[in-house]
Amino acid sequence: MTNQTSKQWAIETQDLDIFYGDFRAVKNVTLKIEPKKITSIIGPSGCGKSTVLRSFNRMNDFIPGAHVKGEVLFQGQNIYDPRIDPVQVRQRIGMVFQKPNPFPKSIYENIAWGAKINGYKESLNDLVEECLVKSALWDEVKDQLQKPALSLSGGQQQRLCIARALAVKPEIILMDEPCSALDPIATLKIEDLMRELSNQYTIIIVTHNMQQAGRASDFTAYFTMDTDRAGSMIEYGVTSQVFTNPTNKSTEDYISGRFG
């Protein structure tokens, strides 16, 4: 595995199957995610996009009966190894959810909390500012850090959630349809932000919005459902390639809006 010439991928899966109880939701996913790039996962509803995304930081562990077969490698290490504590995985691989879900606390506390529990020793004030600047929210909230986070607008809340994820200093940020609850202007802001962040972080985003995947991502993985209702990856490549010249008929149909 530790081949000198092999490239260090951000995340690498090897024949990954994901089960909910006896039901196989996702099968045979072999995927290599390019570091410090934006990779989008697209596909029709129920094809297991979110399931795959959540398996990257073991968020599926909370669903009773969920388990995986195969490997998910992060820095060459299988994160499903029994010796690995999932808490450690989630600190390295952060997550932003579909609906903005800030804590019912102040803006400041929202960002500082994650750092505090992970034993961050330096100045929290600096960290909060740094994260808010990175998530392009600083100018809007710098005078009201003690205000409740829930008083912000939906788009601001989602950027706060991104800032909150950054405060834990992850290497990878998973985004599960982060713009589906936002209006187009807020959506564009998040996309700009993703582009900005991809200089430092690997971003994997699940989206229903084809244009978003086309505009904002470097790589695209297309998932679809088989006749046994198990999702699998049909196509994966550079976004422009997948969108302009798909190798698979199903991908072409989906992208051109013929179904899904």
């Binding site: 930081n57 952060g94 959810f97 800030p102 804590f103 019912p104 994650g114 529990i117 909150r164 994820a165």
Partner: protein, 414 residues
Amino acid sequence: MKNPVNLFSSISYSKDLHLENRQKKASIWKALFRLSTLVGVIVLAILILSIVNQAFGLVAFEDINDRNEFISTSIIDVPKTELIQLIENNLNKNRVRTLDTEKPLLDRSKSDLIRIVESEVFKQRIVDSYPLFQSIFTPNEFKSTVAEKYPDAIMEFKSWFTPQFLTESMSKTPELAGVRTALLGSLLLIVITIVVAFPLGVSSAIYLEEYSRQNTWLSRVIQTNIDNLAGVPSIIYGILGLTIFVRAFEPLTSGRFFGYEGANGRTILAAGLTMALLILPILITNAQEAIRAVPNSLRQASYGLGATQWQTIWHHVLPYALPGILTGTILAISRALGETAPLIIVGAATYISKDPSGLFSNFTALPIQIYNWTTRPQQEFRNIAAVAILVLMIMLLSMNAVAILWRNKIQNKR
């Protein structure tokens, strides 16, 4: 909407819309709902009015010793020094000393001195009393009866609810009796109950909701039993408390184990533990509901930042669930404060004039006191029972108010 008129010229349905019929049905249901609420309000109003009816009213006083032998003017015009002299000259020395050590006579207010002189020197006694509504609407009836039976009696409108009622302890004479002992007993009882039941209840709820595997047969059995225990008659908890806390754990509950000279296990500690058992199922189920209502997105957000399960529970689940848990606690406190049956079984004293001094003392509580007074034949005991009920209700309301204020404060922070 009695007669809906079709304002639209075109008819979109070929069928009759039955609008009139549908609206009628709706209004019948609405009237029924309003009626049910009204019934509840009326019953509550009757309850409160009947208590208030007993707590105030006309009374007839009579002095056993003729007051003209002691003073020549109205007692209000007698100066303070003379009042003190009256007390010192006419009461026995022990009584004077007791009064003086409670609060020096010279420091007492004039109204306080008048009260002592009237009740102890003149030996003023209530010979007859009349409830509030009759006192207001048919006072003459009372006046003529009294004039006939007790020609020397003075009539007065009396509020049985006096400051002395709160500060005096038990007495065999209703005018001198108070609820201090029972009030302190109830307060201490509730404190013990909450201190024991709140942590136990909340911890079990956390375990059942956050840690235990749901949907296994064992957790279902436990859950069903907790739900059912909330409905078990309180007297059965009393018997349980008697068997376990009073008898089996007697060395602990009587305090002998800790070096106290406890006589038996019938202490306020045993009663508090019994009450804690009684409210535990209510507390657990309410706390579970509150924890279940915490949105999952909050837990996920916390886990997504690399928090452990305990950090998630402590920093996010519990603060979010706390208002709900407090609501459940309010319900549980109200239940425990009014319970009488288990206290009787566990052995609350019906007559005790000593304040509870600690965990291992004998005690009485407000409901016991009320129960005791209502069983007496004299009308005056019924009057003070009504006042004791008012005291119990005020205590309940103020405790709940504190909990509600606290809850609102938490909710406003969000």
